[in-house]
């Protein structure tokens, strides 16, 4: 028996040595890399009728995912496993259970890119086509199909794809066929090679096929969008414009009208050291485009129509009344000025004072009833309606006072048409003044204390809010924070509630773990162009994330 075991081990030993040498030599020749990232979040929910936090039967809900990719030279393949057991509050309930909704293989060299399976893609500014992911918002409209891109000589880049789109754990019914070309004229035209003016132009064409199974309407099964763009750059000056047209596409979002759609976005910027200026205008007219004409809300979007407003980072302006694009018709304008009052001057102080001024405004477009009512309405191209959808005027001042103290002050004037933006009736328009003060005090090289005070003053809706935050960080690993949001101006005295929440986190290199406990008010959380309504909750929240 012992001898047998001895033989066994010896045999295994030699096999192992053999295998190991094979592996080692193979790896010298074939160095593949396995890499990925991981995230899981879970929340323990307590019912709290005072803040409207509902009873959660499961008590604990959790979202998680892991990307696992293999790369070897020009070749990459990968999968993403996703898990919603059960999906957390505030995410779409169509995320049910778990699965591998993302899997792909791709090849890329200096000229050619080819992908089969799932992929993300964007043409131009995305006004005609963009698939992307915002995992934190539960947004993912990845394509599933084939994508090919080619870098031709002389600055020409072409892309083409044919695919369906992911909606949660299924594919939406439409088939998307799309192509894009971008030409860098300075590379194409030899005489322009060394010109200070850099010009590139581009064009896209997209077609969606979805069978007409409607018993009433005769619907176009193939819907096309097409458009062009130009980008001109000279020293610090930059100009970008993109226009797109969409053939008639009666859908649930546009209430089944046969009017074609149009979109235009124009941006001009100037930047030099210590100075930046941005001017932008955008018009949308019936431009919602999806791979499923019956879809509403988030899901099956082919194009990307972000709000032309500043994306705020402070809590109250970012999450109480954020604007969301109205794809059926809006016209927006934005201007932003960034500059530094130089250091050494009285207003600039020892380190210089940074100032941002921003104004953005969006109205509806002018609509008159169409002669043929299946077209819905008519609208002159630059016609604006008197209906205000949104205004945000703000100034932000940032100054460092000495080695240990720096502060940001902000004032905002806000107008928010709640009925239009949230698709509701009877709430009207909210006018608010907001203030933010943020002071950071460095105790020493590793320890830092930061305090925020914010206020939102309004007569409408839920009335005024105040918010305070205290955050302590110990570099490079720890943070603890305490946040209180207080709806002190609520007309209903019983609703004047403190939303108190404590959190702590630990970071070690690319790993992070965070715990929080307390009340969370209902809010709208947005990243990029997507917003998520999160109901109020009370409980314990845990998140763990890592890259490898």
């Amino acid at each position: 028996m012992l001898r047998l075991l001895y033989f066994h081990l010896r045999f295994s030993g030699s096999l192992i040595i053999l295998l190991q040498s094979v592996i080692v030599s193979a790896q010298i020749n074939l160095p593949g890399e396995i890499h990925g990232n991981f995230q899981v979040e879970a929340q323990y929910y307590q019912k709290d009728s005072s803040i409207g936090a509902p009873l959660v039967k499961e008590k604990i809900l959790s979202n998680g995912f892991m990307n696992l990719w293999y790369t070897k030279g020009d070749f990459t393949a990968g999968i993403r496993y996703e898990n919603y057991l059960n999906v957390m509050q505030g995410f779409d309930s169509r995320y049910k259970g778990s699965g591998i909704p993302f899997k792909f293989a791709s090849y890329k060299n200096d000229r050619l890119e080819a992908t089969v399976g799932n992929f993300y893609e964007q043409f131009g500014s995305g006004i005609m086509l963009r698939s992307y992911e915002e995992r934190g918002l539960g947004y993912d409209n990845a394509f599933e199909g084939v994508r090919v891109a080619y870098h031709l000589p002389k600055g020409i880049y072409i892309k083409g794809l044919i695919a369906k789109q992911r909606t949660f754990f299924t594919l939406s019914p439409g088939i998307v066929r799309a192509a894009d070309i971008e030409i860098n004229l300075n590379e194409l035209i030899p005489a322009w090679d060394s010109s200070l003016t850099r010009i590139s132009i581009g064009g896209s064409g997209i077609s969606r096929f979805q069978a007409d199974e409607d018993p009433v309407y005769k619907l176009p099964e193939n819907v096309a969008t097409g458009g062009g763009r130009i980008h001109i750059n000279r020293k610090g000056l930059s100009f970008f414009a993109e226009y797109a047209f969409k053939s008639n596409d009666p859908s649930a979002v546009n209430k089944m009208i046969y009017r074609p759609g149009q979109a235009l976005t124009i941006t001009g910027t100037y930047a030099s050291k210590g100075f930046g200026l941005l001017l932008a205008v955008k018009r949308l007219d019936n431009f919602d485009f999806r791979s499923d004409r019956t879809a509403t809300g988030i899901g099956a979007n082919i194009n990307y129509l972000p709000a032309l407003t500043r994306q705020h980072t402070y809590n109250l302006p970012a999450t109480i009344y954020p604007y969301a694009t109205q794809p059926n018709g809006e016209m927006g304008f934005q201007a932003e000025l960034n500059f530094i009052i130089p250091k050494g001057s009285k207003a600039g102080g020892k380190y210089g004072t940074e100032i941002t001024l921003n104004y953005s405004g969006t109205n509806g477009i002018k609509k008159t009833p169409a002669a043929n009512d299946t077209f819905g309405y008519e609208s002159p191209f630059f016609g604006i309606s008197n209906e205000t959808y949104f205004r945000d005027l703000h100034i932000e001042i940032h100054r460092k006072f000495n080695r240990n103290i720096k502060a940001t002050l902000m004032y905002l004037y806000w107008v928010y048409n709640k009925d239009v933006v949230q698709g509701l009736k009877g709430y009207g328009t909210i006018y608010a003044n907001m203030f933010v003060g943020d002071v950071s005090y460095k105790l020493n090289q590793k320890h830092n204390l930061r305090m925020e005070l914010q206020g939102l003053l309004t007569e409408q809706d839920l009335g005024s809010w105040a918010m305070a935050l205290l955050e302590y960080t110990y570099s490079p690993n720890w943070f603890v924070a305490l946040i209180d949001q207080y709806n002190y101006g609520n007309n209903n005295a019983a609703q004047r509630i403190h939303y108190l929440n404590a959190s702590a986190g630990y970071t070690l290199k690319e790993n992070r773990i965070m715990l929080s406990y307390g009340k969370q008010r209902a809010g709208i959380f947005c990243v990029g162009g997507v917003c998520r309504n999160v109901p109020a909750s009370n409980g314990l929240y845990l998140s763990v994330l890592s890259s490898f």
Binding site: F11, S12, L15, L19, Q20, I23, V24, Q27, P31, E33, H35, N37, N67, W69, T76, Y120, Q122, S125, Y132, E133, G136, E182, N184, R198, H231, S238, F240, T269, S272, K273, G274, F275, G276, L277, L278, P306, A307, Q311, T313, E336, N338, F339, I340, G352, E354, T356, S440, K446, H447, S475, P476, W478, F479, K509, E510, R512, G528, G529, S547, F548
Partner: protein
Amino acid sequence: MIRSLLVLFVLLLSLSNTKAQQNRTLPQVNLRSLEGKLLSSDQIANDGKPIILSFWATWCKPCITELTNMAEHYSHWQEETGVKIVAISIDDARNQARVAPFVLGKGWDYEVYIDVNADLKRALNVNLVPHTFLLNGNREIVWQHNSYAEGDEFNLFERVKKLSAGVPVNE
């Protein structure tokens, strides 16, 4: 059974050994310059000296704090180690036009690229911003860190100094 387990164990051991020996290189992904020019991430280089690759966005407060704090020391860091800071903006179409005026308005001297549809972020498996990578002279990732707390830049620069002195950086 025991044998297959042993073999599997050794296989895993060899794999993990290799992982420790090999660092990932920067993947090849399309980026855009602030002028809108399409280029490949291959072009991010620093003549064999270290590179700090920092993922940020115009709406990310801790990212801006990190880049602003590093900006104060940047010329000194460059003198001492030759390190280059490359800031990768993951701003999407909503904010992309804002990036150039924002960067110049802040007076940052970094090389800045726009990761138009987060392709580089995805290829490097970044969960959230800020996320900062340290690359050695061969453009291999030797260290990374997510989130930012005041003072983290000194921790990072300690590693840059080690790297340029030829000392291994892994903790």
